[in-house]
């Protein structure tokens, strides 16, 4: 702990500069359908897509894990194969963010972090109402638990700046608003 006091004492004590408030951007008043349309377009640009419950049934023929909330919604058992063997992960999301095609997913009971990360396909089944237009609105409603914001499939451009999807996380994302 000696380092702590040394560091804090060495830091300049210049005191307050006025904290510039971040002005709230004007909130667009969009219907949920309009927001999902924007979201869908953004997601497609990123290489993901919107899907239906029928799509989910097909996808679930592969080894999978399902979080509690999605299992209830789909009338299935939560859990599934051991996480490292799962090819598909089904989760819910706290919020979709229309302007950038992002999903906020917090952890919690029955909501394993790895379900949206380890498999090659990530399916998100979530209630239609959980969408906001802007990132600012979304962050005003953050869960206090560890949360990930996912914006499209896992990607890398490290090799010659060529875009490759699915390098570590899921290369496919299917979002199903219900």
């Amino acid at each position: 702990m000696a380092d702590r006091d040394d560091i804090l004492n060495a830091l300049p004590q210049t005191g307050k500069k006025a904290r510039v408030p971040v002005p709230a951007p004007p909130l667009p008043s969009l219907t949920s359908d309009a927001m999902w349309q924007i979201f869908g377009a953004r997601l497609e640009e990123l290489g993901g897509r919107l899907g239906t419950l029928e799509d989910v049934e097909v996808i679930l023929s592969r080894p999978h894990v399902i979080d509690q909330e999605s299992a209830t919604r789909l009338g299935r058992q939560p859990g599934g194969v051991p996480i490292w063997e799962a090819e598909v992960g089904v989760t819910t999301a706290d919020l979709a963010v229309a302007e950038i095609g992002s999903l906020l997913i917090s952890t919690g009971p029955g909501r394993p972090r790895m379900a949206s990360l380890s498999p090659v396909v990530h399916v998100v089944v979530m209630p239609k109402e959980r969408i906001v237009a802007t990132l600012e609105e979304a962050f005003a409603r953050l869960s206090d638990r560890s949360t990930v914001m996912i914006t499209g499939p896992s990607r890398t451009a490290d090799i010659e700046h060529v875009l490759v999807r699915g390098v570590h996380g899921p290369g496919d994302i299917v979002v199903v608003p219900v």
Partner: protein, 459 residues
Amino acid sequence: MKAKPVNHPAVEAFARQLAETTRDSVRATSVKVIESRKARLVDAFPDLEATRTQASQIKDFVLANISNLLSQLEMKCRLNGVQVHWAKDAESARKIILDICKEAAPDGGTIVKAKSMATEEIHLNKHLIDVGYNVVETDLGEFVVQIDNDTPSHIVAPIIHKNRREVAKSFEREGLGPYTESPEQLAAQARKHLRERFVEAKIGISGVNFAIAESGRLVLVENEGNSRLSTTAPDTHIAIMGLEKLLPSEADLPLFLKLLAGSATGQRMTVYTHLISGPRRKDEDDGPTAVHLVILDNGRSKVLNGPYKDILKCIRCGACSYVCPVYRQVSGHAYSHVYSGPLGAVLAPALEGIEALPELAKASTLCGACEEVCPVKIPIPRMLLQLRDEAMRKGVAENPIPWTLFTFGATSGLRWRTGLKMLPMARIAKHPLKDGWTEFRELPKKEGRDFRKWWNGRS
């Protein structure tokens, strides 16, 4: 941003010594990124100028109140169950991390690492490897750098200097799979190989992009998923942050996340934004059971009290490198420091003292492109001038002519002697290029990297 040509003979001479492929890779990638980045930022922020000013002012606030904000961060982290450690220098940081590792994995084993400049800065890998840990870089680019015994050449695009054939050869050599020039297949080979490391690792080490004082939340951004895997799968997560990486509140995040993604890669948002609120809670299914935060000073408090403090507003987007005509000619290795490009030309001597790196500030045409793109409006050209002036006044800039960057290994007595001490003379004498290039390329060697292997591997 149009590339501004550099006609200085010394820069050209240096660039000629780089492998043709290296120059082509660096230039091609730079141009692509600059174009998409500009389009994206203008699209995301109708008034980009005002946005940059705002971001800059928030960072000014952070620097002016840094000791209060750090105390607040510490308190909030503790409440979240994060164990907070303070490290005044690299040695202290390494000791803290090593002690944590010894407790979490006393018998050695695999440590998975997400890309982190702070760990590069303290040369962490080497020390952990020396005591028997299998430290694995998991970001695709950093992984290639590691298996090639190379050094990253750009803070965001570490293998900007390599082409796919070089990567393919390395993967074949390491037994990752058959030779292929398809980036998709190369990525798949890496995924498979690294997945096994994630499964076996007991410890994950990462950096931090933003630490939120108000909530104690640690924010990590990435595109691949390796950082999330490194900080989720193992039981212990160690995060290390330079003490300036603060934001006051979560309300500041949307602005900075958009600016960082747009400036770094021209994306609307990075794929994964990981907001860490502490270790796994009792009712949660997975995640690390222990999270440690190491707050690193290592020269920063000194910088904050001096004329170059604004460089600590940097959010490490790498945009200044992409637009810098010097960087584009010489690539990141020429800076011989973990922080390269215009950012590095200020930050490296600011952290280590002008006496140690007197020539770096000359690595600029002062064209102003870096300041023009910097999302937090850091006046880099002004600081470079100031550094040159300081070097002259202290009599450490032995060569008054600019553009001697590539000979600084020879002109900076301290560094050169340090280099020589660690290095058999034969290595230099035998080398085909007995000029500036060879000389400063020896510097990374003293951190335990094999220059010769790096050189031979580049065909």
